[in-house]
């Protein structure tokens, strides 16, 4: 169980070079234990950058990030990440990609095969265990990446547009699976998406970021209590209203970014 606290985080890429990029500025955010927080914002506003800093891949230029009370220093399997571009090992089969994290955690062979197969089944890829990534479609690779990260059961889940390459129907199935895992195994989730409906539907809170340099523009509560089913939530007036509000807010930022600032 873990919480994430970011304070006055700033990230400048290539600070000593000719073209430094201020990617993120003054970002402060608290994600409570077991909370599901989604981040939305225009392309290039620093969503991936923020995730990479929580994961421990990038140094901060200023500020601090604490996970579970401890400052982030290096990457570790307590914070599992699903990359925007999958990052599967091309020389390993689907099964070996999924067992990799379990092997690093010294889980016995029989046990890790069992866990891996369960997760491959969950992302509907049974039958493709022995395929290589080069033999899979984009959406299939993305599902392997999801299975791989969920398999080693990290306390914190960092997901960078994890359903971006999926068709609407598969996306729906994956969303349900993610929610059911999240409710069963209670994880803290930081979830980047371009799909505002998805953010509103999945998350407890949605963080809207400004155009680059990314700052936090506003945080919207999106917990819907008292509904009996998914359908009921999705069809409710409250859901439509929140979605519209967030969509408009993001749209403003996209317009601000303009074509030349890309």
């Amino acid at each position: 169980m873990a919480d994430i606290v970011a304070r006055n985080v700033r990230k400048i890429y290539n600070p000593d070079k000719r073209y430094p990029v201020l990617a993120i500025d003054e970002v402060s955010l608290e994600v409570r234990e077991n909370e599901f927080v989604a981040i939305v914002g225009p392309s290039g506003c620093g969503k991936s950058t923020l995730l990479y800093m929580v994961a421990g891949f990038l140094d901060l230029t200023a500020g601090e990030i604490k996970v579970n009370g401890k400052p982030v220093e290096a990457p570790g399997p307590d914070r599992g990440i699903v990359f925007q571009h999958f990052a599967l090992f091309p020389w390993k089969t689907v099964l070996r990609n999924v067992t990799y994290g379990l092997e690093e955690q010294k889980i016995p062979k029989a046990e890790r095969e069992k866990i891996a197969r369960k997760h491959i089944d969950m992302v509907k890829l049974t039958g493709f265990e022995h395929h290589y990534p080069s033999q899979l479609s984009g959406g299939m690779k993305q599902r392997v990446a999801i299975a791989r990260t969920l398999a080693f059961d990290p306390e914190v889940l960092l997901m960078d547009e994890p359903f971006g390459a999926l068709d609407a129907q598969t996306r729906g199935v994956m969303q349900e699976e993610l929610l059911s895992i999240w409710s069963k195994r209670k994880k803290t989730v930081l979830f980047v998406t371009h799909d505002v409906r998805e953010a509103v539907y999945l998350a407890d809170r949605v963080v809207i970021m400004t155009a680059r340099p990314g700052r936090i523009k506003e945080i919207v509560d999106t917990k819907f209590a008292g509904y009996k089913s998914t359908e009921e939530v999705l069809e409710s007036a409250a859901f439509a209203q929140k979605t519209h509000q967030i969509w408009k807010s993001v749209r403003e930022e996209v317009d601000k970014a303009g074509p030349l600032d890309g």
Binding site: A55, F57, A74, P75, P77, F83, W91, T93, Y100
Partner: protein
């Protein structure tokens, strides 16, 4: 009949890199070489040039057969193969660690980078006189020289490959708990393998060239020496016989390397045969 034959050819042609192709397929692939041989044979038989300048293909094949019975061609072929392969393997063992560490360790890069940029374009065969001085006359100078020549393309390819390893692969391994020390074995090496093999495929013919040229220049047996001796005795059939063996040897070694590549990189996009 003709139609089903071509279909059969098409089917075997598509069945992938590791199956042994039928004679028909080989014929189809190399018909230009075959044509050349036929023209050669005709020209030689018509006595358009003297047999000394251009012996007929059939007499060359006979020459190869005769020389094989006398065992000296076999010995020289074995000697050249041994020298070329040994140099190639030693170069691989030396060059891959250098290439990887150049990409990973600053001091090593600082040390080797200028050496590689100056040494790569230098024709290594020009070191032969010095190598003879240092290492004597028989196997050692030839093997050392060919090793040196092979090292450069493999170092360069490995270095560039290692530099180009997708950072997200490294990140995702570290994310799953891989320690800094095992990244090399678990991620960097497999990810660099395609480029290492590129370098190896460039190095293999270089190895054969350097070995044969040094055999030509300094004797001590081998196919290069075989040709030079035959030429001295004005035995043009044997010269061409030697040439034939050299080109077959070069071709076979390159083919073997291609098969090894297809086996080792069975996971790679290039090995998936579904297209076309």
């Amino acid at each position: 009949m003709a139609v089903s034959d071509t279909q059969a050819v098409a089917a075997t042609g598509r069945s992938g890199g590791l199956a042994v192709p039928s004679p028909l397929v080989i014929l189809k692939k190399y018909y230009s070489v075959l044509l050349l041989i036929i023209v050669w044979e005709v020209v030689a038989r018509l006595n358009l040039v003297t047999p000394f300048l251009l012996p007929s293909v059939s007499s060359i094949l006979k020459g190869v057969y005769k020389a094989t019975l006398e065992a000296d061609l076999i010995r020289d072929t074995a000697l050249t193969t041994y020298r070329a392969l040994l140099s190639f393997c030693v170069a691989l063992v030396i060059a891959v660690p250098i290439g990887i560490s150049m990409a990973r360790i600053r001091v090593i890069h600082w040390f080797f980078d200028p050496i590689v940029s100056i040494g790569f374009p230098t024709p290594k065969i020009s070191f032969l006189p010095i190598f003879i001085l240092w290492f004597g006359l028989f196997d050692r100078p030839k093997i050392f020289l060919a090793t040196l020549a092979c090292t450069f393309p493999i170092v360069t390819a490995t270095y560039l490959g290692t530099m180009g390893v997708d950072k997200y692969l490294l990140w995702s391994a570290r994310n799953m708990g891989t320690s800094e020390n095992s990244l090399l074995r678990k991620v960097i090496f497999p990810a660099t393998l395609p480029q290492v093999l590129n370098g190896a495929q460039i190095a293999m013919p270089i190895s054969i060239i350097v070995v044969i040229v040094s055999e030509m220049l300094m004797g001590g047996g081998g196919l290069g020496n075989y040709i030079m001796v035959a030429q001295r005795f004005a035995d043009s059939v044997s010269v061409f016989a030697g040439l034939l063996v050299i080109s077959v040897l070069g071709y076979l070694l390159q083919k073997i390397l291609e098969k090894v590549r297809a086996l080792v990189l069975h996971w790679h996009e290039e090995t998936q045969h579904e297209s076309k």
